[in-house]
């Protein structure tokens, strides 16, 4: 640790001398704090938003989320089942280890461990082999045309460092274990972790040796230090931005946007996010939990699902709850995702009479009782959306009780499959349809990545077949499968889609940073004036 600190101090000193630059500290705030520094333990935005400053993937994202060279300078699908990556020479980890093909092999194996939360990105990989010190082959069990999209989410670690620190597998956050990677990092990225106090502050310092500073996109980047502080209270976070205590707020509350836009010295960057909010239902149990319906499960009836869908006045939510900051949708993922089909993005219209009729038809003329589980600090205005929906359902006779809770207990509850109906948001880091279909709609059969977030246990054999095609095939066959899956999604109503999130970022006017649809700020491209 001391060595690390000394190295950091030395690097800092060097940086100042070499760059001749002054210090540019970005003080950054968001509502949640990362609960680990392990790159493969938690696949959630709050963790990756910090770690991607520190670690590099093989393939990076450009400012439009397109693929760009990262630690690999070049890649090629040399055979249907084999991808080859040529690695960047001369890269060093923050603690000095040289980056080699062996680190890539190690990282992929690590991401496949049971304790990994990133298995879905590497589930098709059979093994990886070092061809030369700086060339790696990745062998897949099936042809995987979108492997680069997926590998772009895997952050590369040093094998020797992990082995030295007994961290060869990801930290098991479920088992409440602490290991070296809980608090320490050793990446190759643009910033190095300088200090970390959980829930209080995380400080990162510029890594002047980063390979990417010479890339055109980063040449303007002049940030020398990032101070991240979690501020969970919306009001306090915005007050801090307005009073100049922080420079950048990743998740400004929607209700404050108008005021922020008018405030002096504050800028609001708006953009779409690749994240779709929807409502999922337990369509598996024979008797619905948390309900007054006995002996059957109304959600198994398509008409009930349609009725709940018809009952939602999405325009009112868009206008009032989201204050215009959402893109209303009738499909599973936003246009940025490969496979998006405009003609399938059609909602069931808002129609209370139709909803009532469908309920009556299904045998619930007086509606029924349910409990809507809802996070209250995960998505933009999540609890308010749920409240509005509960009121709308009430108007067609479905008496929903709202059970709003923090994301910890919420995810624990739905992951126990202990929810009859819940609100969820799904981001698509791979920017490919498969990721959504496989995680959310594939039958939960224990297969790698199959239905891992399908807690309503939707199961449709045709859907499963189509997903298999998406996994195994490419070209037009694959595109057709996606189109058909989207049609089934629209017609069979496994979810009630609501909207794609828009993600406004708020910052002091003297900070310039490109807005990213994956809601991840890349401070390598940021400039402080």
């Amino acid at each position: 640790m001391r060595k690390l600190l000394m190295a950091a101090a030395l690097a800092m000193g060097l940086g100042v001398v070499l760059g001749g630059a002054e210090a540019h500290t970005v003080r950054w705030a968001a509502s949640g704090d990362p609960n680990t520094m392990d790159p493969h333990s938690q696949n959630v935005g709050t963790v990756t938003m910090v770690l991607q400053q520190i670690y590099d993937p093989l393939i990076a994202r450009d400012q439009n989320l397109g693929l760009a060279p990262g630690l690999a300078t070049r890649w090629e699908q040399q055979e249907p089942n084999r991808w080859r990556f040529w690695l960047r020479p001369g890269v060093k980890f923050h603690e000095g280890q040289a980056f080699t093909a062996d680190d890539v092999v190690f990282t992929i194996t690590r991401a496949q461990q049971p304790t990994s939360n990133y298995a879905i990105y590497v589930d098709t990989i059979e093994r990886s082999v070092q061809v030369e010190p700086l060339v790696v082959d990745v062998i897949t069990r099936v042809p995987d045309p979108i492997l680069p999209n997926k590998i772009a989410s895997i952050l590369i670690m040093s094998r020797s460092w992990a082995e030295q620190n007994n961290s060869t597998r990801p930290q098991n956050t479920r088992a409440r274990e602490e290991m070296h990677t809980t608090r320490n990092t050793n990446g190759t990225g643009a910033f190095r972790l300088q200090s970390r106090e959980p829930d209080v502050r995380t400080v990162m310092a510029r890594n002047n040796d980063w390979w990417g500073w010479q890339e055109p996109a980063s040449q303007e980047g002049n940030v020398t230090e990032i101070v991240y502080r979690p501020i969970s209270s919306d009001a306090t976070r915005i007050a801090a931005l307005l009073s100049g205590e922080v420079d950048f707020v990743l998740d400004p509350p929607l209700q404050d946007l108008n005021r922020l836009r008018q405030a002096q010295g504050i800028r609001v960057l708006e953009g779409p996010e690749v994240r779709t909010i929807f409502i999922a239902m337990d369509v598996h149990r024979d008797e619905l939990q948390y309900s007054d319906v006995r002996g059957r499960n109304p959600f198994k009836d398509l008409r009930v699902r349609q009725a709940l869908y018809h009952a939602i006045d999405i325009q009112a939510i868009h206008r009032t709850t989201m204050r215009g900051q959402s893109v209303v949708t009738g499909t599973l993922f936003p246009p940025q995702v490969n496979g998006y089909t405009q003609s399938e993005d059609v909602r069931l219209p808002y129609d209370q009479a139709r909803a009532r009729a469908l309920l009556a038809e299904a045998g619930y003329p007086n509606g029924f009782e349910i409990t809507l589980d809802c996070p209250n600090n995960r998505y933009i205005n999540d609890e308010q959306i749920c409240q509005a929906i509960v009121a709308m359902w009430a108007r067609v006779g479905v008496r929903a009780r709202l059970n709003a809770m923090p994301l910890g207990p919420f995810f624990a509850k739905i992951q126990r499959e202990d929810s009859s109906i819940y609100l969820l948001g799904w981001g698509v880091p791979t920017l490919d349809a498969l990721y959504s279909f496989q995680s959310l709609l594939r039958t939960r059969d224990g297969g790698h990545g199959n239905g891992i977030w399908n807690y309503g246990r939707y199961s449709n054999p045709r859907m499963d077949q189509l997903i298999e095609i998406m996994v195994n095939q490419s070209g037009e066959a694959r595109n057709a499968a996606i189109r058909e899956a989207l049609r089934i999604y629209r017609e069979d109503v496994p979810h009630i889609p609501l909207h794609h999130q828009m993600i406004p970022w708020a910052m002091r006017s003297n900070l310039a940073i490109p807005h990213m649809a994956n809601n991840q700020p890349y401070f390598r491209w940021a400039r402080m004036n």
Partner: protein, 304 residues
């Protein structure tokens, strides 16, 4: 009845009441709060709990006097289109209900145990007073938070939500009983040694009867004072718990819940969602505290 009324109007209590405009004003405010809360279902312009009546179109309406305000919503609406005035009336209902019930619970428990300790004396007395000592060293809000936290963790979530109101009442009540016990025990000790009680004892009136019929009426005054001052505290405790998100269930929002929800909108210009419930809470607690202060001074002529 009229005689009793006349006697009351002639009493020092009533006199000191009419003499203090602040007290009269706070009594009026308290009365308005209580009536508004109690009669909410009858007089509130809307029913904020009737989900079917809510419409997002009505959300974020400013108070009626604002240019964009609507007559129908005197104090504006919140993010779900709920009428703020009605929400306050229903919220005050919950706040008052919890405050009163908790105080009543604390009073009953404290008075009984205080009587018991003072009258029985001996080991029981020492034990009870020792418990009082220990508990009084912990601030009531912490005790309430803890009791609430333990029940929250121990009970299944669904069950807890159903009985959350009672949990809060219990948590606040249990945190305040020692003050009553102390007061009553002190008065009981004094009364116990007075001749009439001794005499009652000698002629063989059972202890329990003596306590209830002789000692109790004499401790009514101090207990009333403690209860009034505690009512304000109980309402504040409930608001604080609810503000921290561990109080009454969100389905029955109290003033504290309303303030917590409204707080998110404070900086975005929709100040009425939090300020009005806040003012209502302050008015309620302040008037109760003023009444308590007055009552204490009026019943304790030495202080005058």
């Amino acid at each position: 009845m009229t005689a009793a009324m006349k006697r009351f109007l002639d009493s020092d209590l009533w006199w000191s009441f009419t003499r203090s405009p602040v007290t009269v004003l706070s009594a009026v405010v308290a009365l308005v709060c209580v009536l508004g809360a109690a009669l909410a279902p009858v007089i509130a312009p809307h029913n904020p709990f009737d989900l079917a009546s809510l419409n997002l179109i009505d959300a974020f309406k400013p108070p009626a006097w604002d240019e964009e305000g609507v007559r129908e919503y005197l104090l504006g609406t919140d993010d779900q289109g709920r009428d703020v005035l009605s929400a306050i009336m229903y919220g005050a209902r919950v706040s008052l209900l919890v405050g009163l019930s908790a105080t009543l619970f604390a009073t009953l428990l404290g008075v009984s145990l205080g009587l018991l300790a003072g009258y029985a004396g001996g080991a029981l007395d020492s034990l009870l007073m020792r418990i009082c000592d220990i508990q009084l060293t912990f601030p009531s809000i912490l005790v309430a938070l803890l009791v609430d936290g333990i029940t929250r963790a121990a009970l299944p979530r669904e069950l807890h939500d159903q009985i959350a109101l009672f949990v809060v009442i219990f948590a606040i009540g249990i945190s305040e009983w020692p003050k009553f016990a102390r007061t009553v025990r002190g008065s009981t000790l004094v009364e116990r040694n007075k001749e009439y009680v001794q005499a009652a004892r000698v002629i063989g009136v059972p202890s329990a009867r003596i306590m209830v019929s002789h000692v109790l009426p004499n401790v009514v005054g101090p207990v009333l004072v403690v209860a009034t001052l505690n009512l304000g505290l109980a309402i504040l405790s409930e608001a604080t718990l609810s503000f921290l998100g561990v109080g009454v269930p969100p389905t029955q929002p109290s003033l504290g819940t309303l303030i917590r929800i409204g707080n998110d909108f404070l900086f975005s210009g929709e100040w009425w969602i939090t300020i009005f419930p806040g003012l209502a809470l302050i008015a309620m607690v302040l008037s109760v505290n003023l009444l308590g202060d007055w009552l204490r001074d009026a019943l304790n002529p030495k202080l005058r």
